[in-house]
Each structure stands twice: as structure tokens, then as C-alpha cells.
Symmetry: C2
Subunit: 187 residues, 2 copies
């Protein structure tokens, strides 16, 4: 018996690898089939159109990222845990850099694809709420505003880091993020 | 006599329009030639490869953006001017939304193209220095750190706004940016 779910996941892993390497520029049903080592017809059978494949790859990458958050979230709430979670977003090693590139490709795609935009808004609402609760728990004033500020700051830092050397990335994060968290009383 | 510079600019305008519509996904020498109404050979004559075309389109879009900054920069330094300049980056109308989409596509491309990354770092260094001077002039404490913070925050807000409704964009900017500028003593 063929495990169809696993076959689908294998195709999505291939799509995410291609997106991490060069965004959505070279992505097609054909290139994903070649990368996954399956036939064109199989990719079409699982995902139909290229747009549906992109959406499924987005959800797949999101679920993979959430699975990285879980072990950190298992610990007790603290300024240290907050910082550790934020660090999961920032491109400070190859694995996280790959994730940021995938996220950036999706952010670009979401800007012109309503279904992706809706999925992106849903994720953002969850993250906003989560950060708001965490900041409130740490006694930060105005946690709703500070949560929105922090998420925008993380996105901007992640994006800016991509064109910097590893050393300059750490310096930027230390300079901007650490001083911001300290100012919030969550550093 | 053919004005070669103008012909080149016409091709770059076409490339930027395509990038604004759907990122780099559908961009090729062929699609740019079709959009510009010129032959494939002409695009190749002016720009050679697709990568060189992308780089030239990046510089072209950057120069166009700087020309928008100039009239605002002609005024005297003030918290009002600073806010007005920041607003030029944020997708609060169709024209600025188009610019943010182009910038986002380039940010994605720069992550895997060294020549674009270098050009992006150069622009960032100039912007950092400009914001640092402006913030120092407004009496903001720690202007170097605050300049890096502000640039990352603007990038993150611009990116997050893209998937929001016009109303939610204004609300997010008011909530996060205006309170941040006030906190800096530059609101």
C-alpha cells in the first residue's frame, strides 16, 4: 500500500528546498517533480495547480517551523525563553537562513495571492496573540502594541540579516534586538 | 538617432512593472521583451543575461525611489519630515504598494545573488547614516542604534502591511510606528 500522505510530504519537502534555493523564480510543477524524483502526473495528482502546490508548501513549511517552537515553549515563561524563541526566526545558521528565505518568498507571493494572504494573516494573528500573552506575563506595559512592534522588528531584522555576513548579523541583533528587549524589561 | 539610454530605461520600466505584479517568478528576457514591446535581441543587447537585467532593474527602481525622497528632503529637518519620509516606504497607496512589492522581490533575490546583496548593503549603509544624522539632529539618544532599529521596523511594517486591508495598515502603523517615534522624542 502506498502511503499517500508521506508521498505528498516528500513532494512538499522538494518544493520547499527549491524555494529556499531561489525563491519562487524557478518553481514549477516540472521542477518540483524532478527534485522529488516523481512524475509530473504525480505532482498534479496531489496538488493540481502550481498555486495550490505553493499554498500547500507554505502550510508545510509553517508546520515544520511550529514543530521547532514546541520544545522551547515547553519550558516556563521567562525573558530567556522569549529571546530563545525570537532567535528561532533569525538567520543565524544555515537551517534558519533557509527558513527565512522560504518565508520571504511566501511573503512576496502572499502580496498577490489572496489565499496565501489569508493564511498569512491567520498565522500572524496567532503569533500576535501568543507574543501579547507572553509579554503581559513578563509584566511588559502595553503588551498588544509591543507584540505588534516586536513581530515587525523580527521580520525586518531577519530580512536585513540575509545580506549581511554572519558576524554583522550577530552585531545587528545584539545592537537592536537585545537593547529593545532590555528597554521592555524583558531582556 | 535612437536614444539608447531612454530605450534601456523603457525596458527597465517594463521589468519593474512585471516584478511589481508577480515578483521574479515570471520574469525572463522573453517576458520583459514582450512587456516592453521590443525584441528579445534588444533586451539581450542592453542587459545580456537575466541576472544583469535584474540588477539593472534594482538600481533603476532605487533611483526612482530616491527621486521621491528629494522633495521631502528639501524641507528643514523636523519630526514631521522624518515621519513623512518614513511614510514614503509604507504601502499606503497603490504606488507605494507597488514599490514595496518590488523591494521585497529584490530582497529575496539578493539573499542568493552576491552582486545584488552588495548593492543592497551599499544602499542600507547610506540609509543608516542618513537616519542616524537625522535622529542625532532631532536630539534622539543613541542615534546609531535607533537608526538601525527604525530601518528594521520600517521593513517589517511594510512587509506585514502587504497582506492587510488598507484600514488595518493605517491602524498598525499608527499603533506601532507613531508610538515608537513619540517614545524616541521624534513623534
Amino acid at each position: 500500500m502506498i502511503d499517500t500522505r508521506q508521498r505528498g510530504a516528500h513532494i512538499l519537502d522538494a518544493a520547499v528546498r527549491l524555494i529556499a534555493a531561489d525563491g519562487l523564480a524557478g518553481l514549477s510543477i516540472r521542477t518540483v517533480a524532478a527534485e522529488a524524483g516523481v512524475s509530473l502526473a504525480q505532482v498534479q495528482y496531489y496538488f493540481g495547480t502550481k498555486d495550490a502546490l505553493i499554498e500547500a508548501a507554505f502550510d508545510h513549511a509553517g508546520a515544520e517551523f511550529l514543530s521547532r517552537l514546541e520544545p522551547v515553549l515547553a519550558g516556563p515563561s521567562s525573558p530567556h525563553r522569549l529571546r530563545e524563541l525570537i532567535m528561532l526566526w533569525l538567520p543565524l545558521d544555515q537551517d534558519r537562513e533557509r527558513r527565512v528565505k522560504v518565508w520571504l518568498a511566501f511573503a512576496g507571493a502572499a502580496a498577490s495571492r489572496p489565499a496565501l494572504a489569508e493564511s498569512s494573516r491567520r498565522t500572524d494573528r496567532e503569533l500576535l496573540r501568543w507574543f501579547e500573552d507572553e509579554l503581559a506575563g513578563l509584566g511588559v506595559t502595553d503588551p498588544a502594541v509591543q507584540s505588534a512592534h516586536l513581530l515587525a522588528l523580527i521580520d525586518g531584522l531577519a530580512l536585513r540579516c540575509l545580506v549581511l555576513t554572519p558576524r554583522a548579523r550577530s552585531a545587528l541583533i545584539k545592537q537592536v534586538l537585545d537593547s529593545h528587549l532590555e528597554g521592555l524589561g524583558a531582556g
